[in-house]
Structure formats: structure tokens, C-alpha cells
Amino acid sequence: MPGPHGPGMHPRLMTIRLLTCVLTLACAAPAVAQESAASIPRLPNGRPDLQGIWQVRNRAAYDLEDHVARDGMPAGRSVVEGGAIPYQPWALARKQERFANRATADPLAQCFMPGVPRIMYMEFPFQIFQTPDHVAMLFEWQQVYRLIYTNGSKPNEGLEFWMGDSRGRWEGDTLVVEVTNHNDRTWLDGSGNFHSNALRVTERYVMRDRDTIEYSATLEDPKVFTRPWTIRMPLVRHTDMPRLLEYQCRAEMEEANGDFEREPRTWYPGPSAAPPSRRLAASRPASARASAPPGVDLNGFYQADHGGANWGFEPHKELFTPGGRGVLVDPPKMPYQPWAVEEKVSRNLPERGYDDPTAHCFVGGVPRAIYVPSPLYIMQTPRYVVILHERMAWRIIPLDGRARLPDTMRLWMGDSLGWWEDQTLVVETTNLNGKTWLNEVGDVLSYAATVIERFTPIDAKTVRYEATVDDPVVYTRPWTIALPLRREPGELLEVACLEDNQDLQHLKDVRDAARKEKGAGR
């Protein structure tokens, strides 16, 4: 009997054919697309709902063009329409040179931001969040994100970014994104394919069915290519992955090579150690609600009125730790245990400036990422609140009452679960890895911390932020800081901290000199 996929096909053959189709990227069967166009998920405003966790299933990250297997690189077929990238002759020679040096020359060897489109086809999942004005893409890899404006705004002139500037518009059911303002330091894949800062990328996102986005990107760069060219591939929904995790590429590298050293008292000791008992109750109350109260909309660009918190929570005023009004509201002094006082004093020695993870450009952690002096963007959807930090980190806060990660799963930004209590968004974070410092004067946080944050809208321009930290390894009792977040017109820029970090070597010089002196004194 003729079925939808051809006459008399055996069901098992059909399965094999579907599987093959997924593996070979040859899935764009028009008949299937027509069948399912009406059944794709949509937002209340009628736009296709792209939200979910997505990933490619191809080898484009290694090489966009046809390639056989190489050392450390699986084989793959070209995703370039027409097969080959139309390089100008000089550029082809440059590409070949980069290919030969790729092990060290690839910016990803340093964990630098991959740029667009490369980030879209890396072998890591990413999650899309969507409001009428924005589409955000949050990538597991190094906590990179893209915030795509669909509000008719224009790109920043005269600035270059590792991840470009993305402005989107809807053409029917197609999301079209123009990506401009690229720098000339990113590559297109792991084989030395490259572009200049004249690159312009036009992406198209078309939902073929509930679990498939047809992704294409047309690249124009008159300095490097002879004509525009297009890559095309499906993004496939992860249906069995409830959340993204973290891959802090640079931190993992520096831990492995010894550039970032373990702190045994604050880092997660592993499941063998008896976990200290938590004093704050696991606190999603019966009154907790998953949906925001009517009229409460946190969406927007914020700057923390941080009160100098990144240089101390108590009032302070010194030249190298400037103006702090004090944000500690309870108790009056940080309730340290004796060992942790010593640790904090030690962290203020010049040779320990190197040990602050943010000096390495690692993510700030919770709650520090809120009050470092860089802006943030809050995105609120019915199921999530998402915080994008200008210093390239993100936090996804699900509101659906899901279970926590197991105790052994420890993350730089922790495991944050949220709910609404009256007008307040409450966020409880655990599963921290204990690798972060609370600020530049070395206030101490360990893996045992529970952080409860409260975001309470006061008026259209102000959200009161409060964080209570309970860390039985470090403190004798919980303590609380509070500061306002100011909502302003504004856009996030990009902090390429790692890519441009020049301080770390200076700090390392100071540390190494001190170690040498100590060694000589013995």
C-alpha cells in the first residue's frame, strides 16, 4: 500500500532512511515541510516559536567543505552550496597556511569567541529564548550568547565585535538575521577558513517541523571571496535534554595546565566528603508561582547601582578599592569563620591578585556577576528568566518547579531555580563549584553556599536586588546584601575579556616574583 514516503516501503527501511537523512543532512524533503508548516509551535503573536535546545548533527565545525578524516578530526561532507568556498587567490593561499598551523593558530585553541556563523555549528547544544523584541541564543560552549534584536533597531556604527552585531526581522515565518560589525580575528571552522572585518552574514531560520530548523547563512566579504556563498544545515531539537550545562573551555584548560590552581578549602571536594548541612531550608514555598503576576515584566537592560560591591560589601573608601557605600544589610559585619578571615587577608597580598578567577576572565559566578560594574540584560518568558551578562556569561533560571541537579554536578554559575512570590522573583542557587571569589578584595565563597536572590520591581526604572548567602563552610551565619538595579534604555555591547586580557601576565609576574623570593629565603 502506498505510504507517505513511497510505495510499499517497509517500516524498518523507513526508519533507516529517516536516520540516514538526519545523518547526511539531506532532510529537507519538500513534501514533509508542506505537511508540517501549519503544525509548528507559535508564540501568542503568531511568530514561529524557536525556543528549545538545538544542535547541528554534522562536521561543519571541523571543516565546512568536504573532508576525509584527519588526526582529531572526523570526516564530513560539505555544507557549502556548490561544494567549495569561492576564495580570491591570495585568500586561498592564506587559508592553506592557516590550515597547516591550525593546531595553534585557531582562535578556539585559546578558547576565544568563535564568531558567527561558527558558533552555530559547534558540537555543543544551545538554547533559544524568544520575546517579540528579541531572540537570544545561549551556547553551552564557554557561556557565549547572542542577543538578536527583532525590534527594528540598527547596528552600532564603528564598532567591531567577536560575535558581530545581530539585527533580525521576520519575513513571513522566516527569521532573517543580518550579522555585521565582525572583527577579523575569528575563523569559520577548525580548518583555517576565514573572513575579514568586511564580512556580512545573512542568516535564515525556517522551522520545518516542531523539531527541525532549517538554518542557512550567506556570507559576503568582498575582501576575501569572489562572490557571496551560502551554507545550509538543519538544527535539530534536543528532545531529551532538559537543560544546558557548562563548558568553560578556558577554565578547564588552565586547570589542566596548572595556570589556575585548586583551592582545597572552597572548591567542591567531591561526593566522598560529607556535605555540610544547609541551614536555609530548601525553600520553594507552597505559595510559589511559576508565572509572573500580571503586569510584572522584568525584560530590559540594567546597570547595577552596585555601591562598590566588587571592592567590598562593607562601607569602604580607599584609592585602590574605590567608593563603596556598603551593600551589606545584615549583619553589620561579614560573619566570617576564623580560617576564612585569614584567607581573605591573604587574598589581598599582591601575589594573590592572580588567583581571582575574574582576573583570568572566567565567569563571575553567583551573585558576583550581578554587581560587577558591567550591565546585564534580563529576558523574561513564561517559563524562564534569563540573565545575560555583558561580561559574556549567562544564567538560565527555569520557573517550572523542576528537580535540582544531583549534588555531584557543580557549575561556575551554579544551578538556579526560580519562582514568583507576590511581585518578587525568587531565585535559589546551589551546586556552585566554589571556584569564584565574591569580589576583588577576596571575600570568600565555597561550594557549600546556597544563594537566595530576590528581584522585586519597585517602579518602571528600578528593581530591588537582594541576595542572601548561606555558606556554612565559610561563615558563622547567613548574610544579606541589597542594591538597586537600574533599568535604562541601552544595549549590551561585548566584553572580550579573555581575548584581550593583558593584565593576567602582569599579575603572574608579581606572583612568580614573590614565589621566587620565598623560595630563595628558605
Binding site: 574605590p322 567608593g323 582576573a359 576572565c361 558591567s374 541601552g490 575579556c497 593583558q502 608579581v510
Partner: protein, 131 residues
């Protein structure tokens, strides 16, 4: 044209602190204030700190290239600055604090242009980002 920086004067405060991501006392020495006069050879429009490089002639007539740390490019951008506003070859006077490492590097407090305008003088209190 330069926009947004006129009239802002830092009073004994560190410009770069407003975007800081590392300990200043660890990297720079408050006991070593310095004043340098030189021409811009490079400007790195980076975050969380921008860096400006200037050629400075020492007493023996030798030219030394100094690396000078400023507040972050994003703070500069938000105050209206663009890379084209700070061309290579501009003569500047810089006041700041020298690096502990002894290398020709410093944290800048003020950078003054030939016409007297001060660049990159930062938020004077650390209370919120520069406007």
C-alpha cells in the same frame, strides 16, 4: 569629534577601576605615581580595560614604549568615544601609577590631550558606571 569627555576630571581616582576585573593593588603600586609625555603608537579598544601605548623618550634619549591601562572600551563607547577620536601620533600627557612588575606599564589616572582636554577620566566614586 570628541564627545562627552569635556569637563570630567578625575580627582585622585583610578579611571580603570570603573570596569575593573582584577585587583589593582596587586598589579600597580600606589607608592609609584608617574607622569609620562609621549605619542600614541597604538590603542587597543578592549574590555574590561582599554590599553593605550605611547612612545616616551627617557633622560638618555632612548625611546621606551609604555603600556597604559584605562577603563574599558564599552564605558568609553557609552560616553560617546569611538576609535577614530584617538588617532595614532597624538601627543599625550599621562598621570598614573606604575606596575609592580617593573615593566613599562602603568594604570592611568588622567590622559591629557595637547588642547588640554582630558580623556577617559572616569567615574569619580565607583558608584555606578560612567555616564
Amino acid at each position: 569629534m570628541v564627545r562627552g569627555a569635556g569637563g570630567l576630571v578625575a580627582l585622585g581616582l583610578l579611571t580603570a577601576l570603573t570596569e575593573a576585573h582584577h585587583s589593582f593593588s596587586a598589579e600597580f603600586d600606589i607608592e609609584k605615581p608617574i607622569k609620562l609625555v609621549g605619542t600614541i603608537t597604538e590603542m587597543r579598544w578592549s574590555n574590561p580595560h582599554a590599553w593605550i601605548y605611547i612612545d616616551v623618550k627617557d633622560d638618555a634619549g632612548m625611546v621606551v614604549n609604555w603600556a597604559l591601562e584605562m577603563q574599558g572600551a564599552n564605558a568609553l563607547v557609552r560616553r560617546g568615544w569611538r576609535p577614530a577620536d584617538v588617532p595614532i601620533g597624538t601627543l599625550v600627557t599621562v598621570e598614573g601609577w606604575a606596575a609592580r612588575s617593573g615593566k613599562p606599564a602603568a594604570n592611568t589616572n588622567t590622559i591629557t590631550l595637547p588642547d588640554g582636554r582630558r580623556l577617559f577620566a572616569g567615574s569619580p566614586t565607583g558608584e555606578g558606571p560612567p555616564k
